[in-house]
Symmetry: C2
Subunit: 224 residues, 2 copies
DNA sequence: CACCGTACGCGTACACTGTACGCGTACGGC
DNA sequence: GCCGTACGCGTACAGTGTACGCGTACGGTG
């Protein structure tokens, strides 16, 4: 069997860098990034811990590979005539992917070298903006701004200790409000009560800010 | 000596929760959050590792305290008539603080319980927005949006492997461009070259997006 | 057939982590 | 004199990432 055929067999049955990274993503989804250790991951794969190092140079590199898998899950930028619709879909898809892998956002900071999926994604976004008439500089601004918003939203959402509007209401009543003396925090009290009464759900936040951003960027097309 | 006097002595000479947390912040600034271990921190304070646990229930709690120290460094929201100026200064101050403590942004995700400084800060921002005429819901939207932007910007900035425009130019020429085949990444090539030629510095990004956001929020005052 | 290089899997070991437990000491109050 | 309480810390344990090196299987070459 040639080396190449062996690779193919490996890709059917044995381990591979990709398979290791995919299993790592699944494990992190299930147990959080703190629960991801080389020994546990190896256990899930039915292998010894050191076996993983045949496919991944270090845990850092594994984390890089995991992030790139996450980027692969983002929907390709649609080829729509309207740049706002295209970027809107792209941002929503990114947001959903980051919500699905809540550990990912906390890793983005430390991973400084973008993987191939990340690069392809950036290329597609830049292409969309440039074709819509944004200058190089404006496209960079827009890209940075939209990424900041999407990542920052994911960061805030990941920090919330609840998932639904009901849990929010419950936590607000039972945990937050008792911590907030009304004379020291009048406005937070007002907000908390009003939002609970209105059935506020932070899941709605994303589209509000996104649409505001897209509308604000529109007049900057065709300007320097 | 009464227990209270003892506290005072402790606050002059010995350890305290605050002193431990401050030292932890300094250590994290110097060595990054990965370099922060209880033993190292104790060493810096001339104490044994377990001594720290007299002042901090766990490392998690220490991290919470560190985050709150970071929030304390943010300038109080100025009491200006113009809400945009006030929020602008506040956001800039936050951005600077997060840039000074690059480890902080990666911790925000996992810390779900806001500390007192965080709460005071939120109260002040909410007060500013409400007094400017934003409804409760709009103030919440605006706060969420601005926080998303500030945190997301910090996250992106923390991920950059360079600090100055010169380093960016150098890295782009030596590292990025060689990785980007022009036929696969035409737009990224175009951008990279144009930005280097123009002396692009991502430090400018923050104010661009911030002003765009503030302007876009302005018309939402006095609306539901 | 024998031989060898190479790929793969992994057992062991080391330095390091957070922290549970418990002991020793100093001191204020009874 | 005695005790409770606060404080400092040494030891120990389970768990981490990973360097090192051994065993084994197998394709290619003599």
């Amino acid at each position: 069997m040639s080396a190449k055929e062996q690779r193919e067999v490996a890709s059917e049955a044995g381990l591979s860098r990709q398979r290791v990274a995919v299993a790592a993503v699944r494990l992190a989804d299930r147990e959080g990034v703190d629960g991801l250790s080389m020994r546990r991951l190896a256990g899930e794969l039915g292998a010894g811990a050191m076996t993983l190092y045949r496919y991944v140079a270090s845990k850092e590199e594994l984390l890089d590979a995991m992030i790139d898998i996450v980027f692969e899950e983002i929907e390709p930028v649609p080829d729509e005539a309207d740049w706002q619709s295209a970027m809107r879909r792209e941002a929503l898809s990114t947001q959903q992917v980051l919500a699905r892998h809540r550990w990912a956002i906390s890793l983005m900071e430390s991973r400084t070298t973008p993987g191939p999926a990340n690069l392809r994604h950036r290329e597609a976004v830049t292409a969309c903006l440039r074709r819509a008439g944004f200058s190089v500089l404006m496209a960079t601004h827009a890209n940075w701004l939209l990424n900041s918003y999407v990542y920052g939203h994911a960061l805030q959402e990941a920090g919330l200790p609840f998932d639904t509007a009901d849990e929010l209401a419950e936590m607000t009543e039972d945990v937050y409000l008792p911590q907030l003396p009304p004379d020291e925090f009048p406005y937070l009290n007002e907000s908390a009560k009003a939002l609970v009464a209105a059935g506020y759900d932070p899941a709605q936040e994303f589209e509000f800010g996104l649409d505001l951003l897209l509308a604000a960027l529109e007049p900057l097309r065709d300007s320097a």
